[in-house]
């Protein structure tokens, strides 16, 4: 049943996966197991996305299915679930830019690959990045931006992290729309990633995970 569930969710079979989740809950199975299976299914979705088999529609829809399953499971949970994560990462779209499609894909891919992601959303002022890095002690920061105004905002964000004395302890990656290696140099970031898979590879490389 567990294997079916993982495959049904990874294959985005809405009706079937929800019916099976209900059946498992009704049978008194440990709800944590359903969440574990959901996580396994999301890892498959992430892999299919990385392999070019899945695209944005599948990511969005799988996220929706996960949300529905989680909501079904929630009333059965006795305590909050804690999972072991690889490392913390703070991400956000820099000040003056309100685009988040790419940001949310990166969030999803980092999450399914085992990172503990703090997503600050869009139009994030530098102070908020500093605060989040201090609070989470995340060793990695991801800056997202779509338009050209983000060039300066990224530069200012990295400078502010430096001024706050945090720069030496963190790696900074940038990505999105008009970003590239030129902007990386300009903003004094550590790396530019062209897509969400690159973000995962960079993050894993920096923390020494495989």
């Amino acid at each position: 049943m567990a294997e079916d569930f993982v495959n049904l969710l990874a294959d985005l079979k809405e009706q079937e996966v929800l019916a099976l989740a209900q059946k498992r809950l009704d049978s008194g199975e440990d709800p944590i197991k359903i969440l574990d299976d959901s996580r396994a299914a999301m890892a498959i979705v992430g892999k299919r996305f990385a392999d070019g088999e899945y695209f944005l529609p599948e990511l969005v829809f799988s996220g929706e299915l996960l949300k529905q399953v989680s909501e079904m499971v929630k009333p059965y949970l006795k305590q909050a679930v804690e999972t072991k994560k690889l490392a913390k990462i703070v991400i956000g779209t820099v000040a003056g830019d309100i685009h988040d499609i790419g940001l949310n894909i990166v969030d999803f891919m980092l999450d399914v690959n085992g990172f503990d992601v703090t997503n600050l959303g869009v139009d994030v002022p530098v102070e908020k990045f500093i605060e989040a890095v201090k609070e989470t002690k995340a060793p990695i920061v991801g800056l997202s931006g779509f338009l050209t105004p983000a060039f300066d905002a990224m530069k200012e964000t990295v400078e502010a992290l430096d001024k706050a004395g945090l720069r030496k302890d963190i790696k900074v990656m940038i990505g999105g729309g008009q970003m590239d290696d030129e902007v990386k140099k300009y903003a004094k970031a550590d790396a530019y990633g062209k897509d969400a898979m690159a973000a995962v590879a960079l993050a894993k490389g920096w923390i020494g995970a495989k």
Partner: protein, 445 residues
Amino acid sequence: MEENWAELSPDEKREERFKRWLSPPGITFSSPQAEKGYKERVTRFIKAFQLKEPDRVPCILPASNYAAYYAGMDLRTVMYDYDKLAEAWLKFLHDFKDDLDTYIPPALVPPGKALEAVDYKLYKWPGHGISGDTTSYQCAEAEYMKADEYDALIRDPSDFWLRTYLPRIFGVFQAFPQLPPWTSFEEIAIQSFVPFGLPEVQAGFKALLEAGTESLKWFAAVGAVAGEAAAAGIPGIMSGFAKAPFDTLGDTLRGTRGIMMDIFQRPDKVHEAMDKIALLAITSAINAANASAAPIVMMPLHKGADGFMSDKQYETFYWPTFKQVIMALVDEGILPLLFAEGSYNTRFEYIKELPKGATAWWFDQTDMARAKNELGDRICIMGNVPTSLMVTGTPQEVREHCRKLIEACGKGGGYILSGGAQIDKGPAENMRAMMAAAKEYGLYK
């Protein structure tokens, strides 16, 4: 239009429109040299579009809100002060006159007060939702159309716009859902006027009138600038905009998340809605082209880019109505200019379905050498000078990049040197270096 317009083939219609672009009615040139310059510039573009060799590679400088910052102002200032708007754009025009093949008047800088008058929510702009020093306005994507509203849109788009969609993006139309459909007016109006007496409904109409009055002031300023550029012999290149129906539905109605879900949960409705939207897009684009000298309609493309959807999804959901819009314009002799943001490397096979010389493709980060190689005998290609280089690079680097692009794409004509996207701020020397590269490396002998 010609009397026998309906009998002309699409190619003949395009030729007729090109002729009109070359000798536009209503322009008085400031001098015979200006007129000569105008014809030279327009010819340069037309030949590139026709996949023939012009005198040299044409160039479009990637300046969007650039003139504002070049003049020491900012976007917020010129959105609210139309004299300053004109002043900034004219300064750029005069200073860059010798470096311009075409000129984009400030028609893309919307009047801030008109937007405020209707409490516009679809976009954020400097000082209004985003910080005052931001150099661009941006779409605030949301689910402005709900998943269960497809039938209403499909049944009667105008009614859906007026009473459901617009009230969500114009704050002042908040009371408009209380209006009856306009088609329900009684034969002899008895009660039909009643809702229009409601103070909150009247407030919406008053605000709309105010936005109209404000926009006319703005329009006069923009028109004066455009007129001066044309009189000086520098042509405009775009007459209007259209979008792929999937983008219209996904960008500003259902939102990215919404439409991606709909692909799975209500695919038939998505198709029906796109069929309706395609017809609306076609009508409005043809009207725009008819009202303007340049027979070119720009289509900014979003959700069909590489990585957004699979080939199968593109073929099923994006391409059919997109192609329908393109071909309806082509059939009218209008040249659609497809601006493919991001990259479009996986979509070449679809582009090959389009007739030769009938469209131009403006590529942001697509592989240009491959595009030239595989598509160069079919479409004019443009773009690919990175915005990052224009903003952060040196003039030498810009020149060198442009030289390589011209080498890769210029052979035999059919290439227009232009940015991957546009910039708002950056060294003027880089703009000059770009045009210098077109003049130095882009000559056809």
